[in-house]
């Protein structure tokens, strides 16, 4: 703002900052791309197009487009963030959903239109930053530009006259020497320009501002590349572990696995992990937040091949590092242990089955599938209530998350589980079509209802079912009677540290780009018969609210270093200084907002 288009140093060859031609500080209209039509021809058009793409206006429009384009992804569920939400959306809006899907609205951030915007933006960014880097590199090694002939044309301009006894030329030169030394000491790069009867020093500081700007923009590219490439080397896998269960870090042992493009399954770091115990505490009834669960900890033992077993803990917010992988706690729940025997008392099923929690009080839903050993396949759909209560309607519910009065209820279906033909089926769902319900519902037999340690007969004399009590000897109440499971997510992320490094680099670049003032200062001494007249002037390169104060400071500091008889002149063009007009107070100490430039 301080630099008006009439800035005399504007067209210096050593001008330190190169800006796109439509930058607000660039020389106006004449070279504006709106007006100059390119000569036709491939090269001309290409050059014109490139100039459009790397202009400030394009960058701005693309930035705004990016902001707008990101919004729909927060309104419509996204496949990556919320796959169940997408499925639900399709169910709820069967007509609309396919249309939205065609527009990639369920995958906004990988959609062609979103990608196009940010890729164009980054091409523009690179096209903008590269020439500026080259230019800045040169500027960094060149001298501050020649002192303008008429400093008085600058906004921030002061003068003073000193009386001299001896040779005015020598005094003028000495005064400029002093100024040069002072400026250099305050971090300016200085150059002397003497001649035609004047002595002057030209000084510039704040190259770090442009450096910061370039670092910031380049670091953004770094973030993008790190995210893009790093994602290829990243894998995540999920696994549910019931207390006592172990798993080996190999593809086979994951329930789901998402490898990046460059990850192959056989390169996973080998180790094994056992869930020894899962702890959780509940706020007791009657206290604020009653029933709220917290302090989740999965106690695990990990072991590398040939290494010693090591104890570890996985907590929310505190993933466990295992040989470069990070293990996260995603969820938890109960895994009732059920044993089923046939009519002859032979065990045909024995397992702890993870039940998925449905509400805050851990009402949990699970499926037990008995594929072999009975005349027909058996499917059991179970509800587990850690603290069972009966609603007025007669329905069962859980009123607390901990094991106070655990009850397992099961509906039983007989028939074909539909797993023999190799169709993949989720272990958490049961498709009862083609099966006959033999217990619960309208089947004529009541649903099976068990507490830990109890056994009941299956309908139709099929055998028995036992809900095992897993409590260790001496446990009180139902403590530990039902095993818990932890659902773990295992990640290897090579991108993360790089992304963070580039992001921090961007932040530091930004700090420099926004807050380091870049300015030029000139001190010019003109000897004459009755003394030496000294001019001071400053010019901001970019936003610089403290320029005027800096010039005042320079004047004052220089004055104290000069022979005593110097006196400041009243400025030829008094600046509006408000109530304290005429007083030398630096503008920024006034309460007035007008003095921002």
């Amino acid at each position: 703002m301080s630099s008006s288009p009439s800035d005399p140093s504007r067209r210096e060859p050593t001008d330190g900052v190169l800006r796109p031609s439509d930058h607000a500080d660039s020389a106006a209209a004449s070279d504006s791309d709106d007006i100059t039509q390119p000569r036709l021809g491939v090269v001309g058009w290409a050059r014109w197009g490139w100039r459009q793409l790397t202009s400030m206006r394009t960058a701005l429009v693309l930035l705004l487009l990016l902001a707008i384009a990101a919004v729909p992804g927060s309104l419509v569920p996204q496949r990556t963030a919320d796959p169940n939400g997408v499925t639900q959306y399709f169910t709820d809006n069967p007509d609309l959903a396919p249309v939205l899907d065609n527009l990639s609205l369920f995958d906004v951030y990988t959609s062609p239109w979103f990608s196009a915007i940010y890729l164009l933006l980054f091409i523009s960014l690179i096209g903008c930053v590269l020439p500026r880097t080259k230019h800045h590199w040169k500027a960094l090694r060149s001298q501050p530009p020649r002192t303008p002939a008429r400093l008085s044309r600058l906004d921030d301009h002061r003068t003073r006259t000193i009386a001299v006894d001896g040779d005015p030329d020598a005094a003028a030169s000495a005064a400029v020497d002093t100024a040069a030394a002072q400026l250099r000491k305050s971090g300016y790069r200085v150059a002397r320009y003497d001649g035609r009867g004047t002595f002057s020093v030209s000084a510039e500081r704040g190259y770090l501002r442009e450096t910061g700007n370039l670092v910031f923009h380049a670091a953004l590219v770094g973030v993008l590349v790190a995210v893009g490439l790093g994602g290829g080397f990243t894998y995540t896998g999920q696994r549910v572990l019931v207390e006592g269960q172990a798993f080996a870090n190999s593809l086979l042992d994951y329930s789901s696995f998402n490898p990046g493009r460059f990850v192959s399954g056989d390169t996973l770091t080998p180790y094994s992990m056992t869930l020894d115990q899962f702890d959780v505490s509940y706020v007791p009834p009657g206290q604020p937040g009653a029933g709220q669960a917290g302090d989740f900890v999965a106690h695990v033992t990990t072991q590398a091949p040939g290494g010693d077993p090591q104890d570890g803990e996985v907590r929310v917010n505190h993933p466990l590092d295992v040989r470069g992988d990070r293990v996260y706690l995603l969820g938890n729940g109960y895994a009732p242990t059920v044993t089923i025997r046939d009519a002859d008392g032979r065990e045909v099923f024995h397992d702890s089955v993870a039940f998925l929690p449905q509400d805050a009080n851990m009402t949990s839903l699970g499926v037990i599938k008995v594929a072999d050993g009975l005349p027909e396949q058996l499917g059991l759909l179970g509800f587990f209530y850690p603290t069972m209560d009966v609603l007025p309607s007669g329905a069962l519910t859980s009123t607390f998350g901990d094991l106070e009065y655990p009850v397992l209820t099961l509906r039983v279906y007989e028939g074909d589980l539909g797993i023999d033909d190799g169709t993949p089926r989720s272990v958490y769902t049961l498709d009862p079509s083609g099966m006959t319900q033999i217990a619960g519902g309208d089947s004529g037999n009541p649903a099976i209802q068990l507490m830990p340690g109890q056994t009941e007969d299956l309908p139709n004399g099929l055998g028995t079912i036992t809900f095992e009590n897993e409590a260790p000897a001496g446990a009180s109440g139902y403590d530990g009677s039902v095993k818990r499971f932890a659902s773990l997510s295992i990640h290897r992320d090579l991108a993360g540290p790089w992304v963070l490094a580039f992001a921090l680099l961007a932040l530091f670049g930004l700090l420099a780009a926004l807050f380091v003032p870049r300015r030029r200062m000139w001190v010019k001494a003109t000897p004459s018969a009755n003394g030496v007249s000294i001019e001071y002037a400053g010019l901001a390169r970019g936003e610089d609210p403290t320029l005027a104060a800096a010039v005042d400071q320079l004047v004052e500091k220089h004055g104290t270093a000069l022979p005593a008889q110097s006196r400041p002149d009243t400025d030829a063009r008094p600046r509006p200084t408000g109530p304290e007009a005429g007083s030398p107070t630096p503008p920024q100490s006034q309460p007035d907002t007008g003095k921002v430039d």
């Binding site: 703002m1 607000a24 701005l60 951030y109 995540t236 309460p591």
Partner: protein, 335 residues
């Protein structure tokens, strides 16, 4: 605080909050009266200088036309009695607000910013704090009614709609990043709020300056408090300065949030609703900063971007937060 009932503490805190809101209402009224009176005062002051200076101020380069006139009005202090009263009341309200917030933290035995009610409590405290702090350097009392109005609406609204009793922190929130991330985000919000206020006044001032420049010089000047407010250019520069500090904090918020997300959810970025909006706001303000540097976008257009940016911040703070809860079922890990 062993031995002190958290429920009681929270009740006292709540009482203080309502007291603060009441005082903010009074401050708002005082500031509003101030604005109304300013137009009168400004009319009584000799005007032709102002009109002439404003015309030059519109031309770029030299700033200070109306700013100088505002400064000279500032000089004659007694005339801004109502503004001073507004500031005194705001400060008083702030003290109640501060004690209320601290008490809430004591009651909860943690930082008081981990649910919607507390976000609002702390966030607005910071907005008022930044406003009051800035007052010691710049006379922004013409923003007083906007700031206190915002505080009354949002603090009152949040207390009515979102107040919950103190409950233990859910596991995902037990993290140092809660302290850092949310605090810095609130600070950024406070700065954006000021920039927003300035941009709004800038737009109104710019309109007036345009009209003045077009009007014949001897036209009867319209009465308006704007006469006592800095020029649009000066307002813009100031708004920009708050916005860039806010932008730095917001950038930090974004980074800190990603680090936290990486610890809590196992990925540093997932385009979750809240993340999307934080990103959108960041990009909007990057756009605003660019606009300030783009020919043809400085001035009114960039002011609109600042306003849109802050609207997005408010949207993120309110609607997205409420919506966000629904989306974030930590699969049984939290209630």
């Amino acid at each position: 605080m062993p031995g002190t009932d958290p429920l009681l503490l929270d009740e006292i805190s709540l009482l203080l909050v309502w007291t603060a809101v009441a005082i903010y209402v009074l401050a708002f009224i005082a500031y509003a009266i101030d604005l109304a009176r300013r137009s009168d005062l400004a009319l009584k002051a000799k005007d032709e200088v102002v009109a002439r200076e404003l015309v030059t101020a519109g031309g770029g380069g030299v700033i200070g036309g109306s700013a100088a006139s505002s400064a000279s009005t500032v000089a004659s202090k007694p005339r801004y009695l109502w503004a001073r009263l507004g500031t005194v009341l705001t400060t008083l309200g702030f003290v109640f607000h501060l004690v209320a917030t601290v008490l809430r933290g004591v009651a909860a035995e943690r930082v008081p910013w981990s649910n919607m009610y507390e976000f609002a409590l702390t966030g607005l405290l910071l907005i008022i704090a930044v406003y009051l702090a800035v007052l010691t350097r710049y006379d922004l009392r013409f923003l007083g009614s906007l700031m206190t109005g915002l505080a009354v609406l949002l603090l009152g609204g949040a207390t009515l709609a979102f107040h919950v009793e103190v409950v233990p922190l859910a596991d995902p929130l037990k993290s140092v990043w809660l302290v850092v991330h949310v605090f810095v985000a609130s600070l950024a919000t406070a700065l954006f709020a000021l920039a927003f206020g300035l941009s709004v006044v800038q737009l109104i001032q710019a309109r007036r300056e345009r009209k003045l420049a077009e009007a014949p010089t001897d036209a009867e000047p319209k009465r308006s408090f704007l006469r006592t407010v800095p020029s649009a250019d000066a307002l813009e520069s100031l708004a920009y300065r708050f916005a860039i500090v806010g932008f730095i904090f917001w950038t930090f918020t974004l980074i800190a949030g990603s680090i936290w997300a990486n610890d809590a959810w196992g990925r540093f970025w997932g385009f979750d609703t809240k993340e999307v909006w934080t990103f959108v706001i960041w990009v909007l303000y990057a756009g605003y900063i660019h606009a300030r540097a783009t020919r043809g976008w400085r001035g009114t257009r960039s002011a609109w971007l600042s306003i849109i940016g802050f609207t997005a911040v408010l949207f993120n703070f309110t609607i997205v937060n409420v919506f966000f809860k629904g989306l974030h079922a930590y699969s049984g890990l939290t209630t």
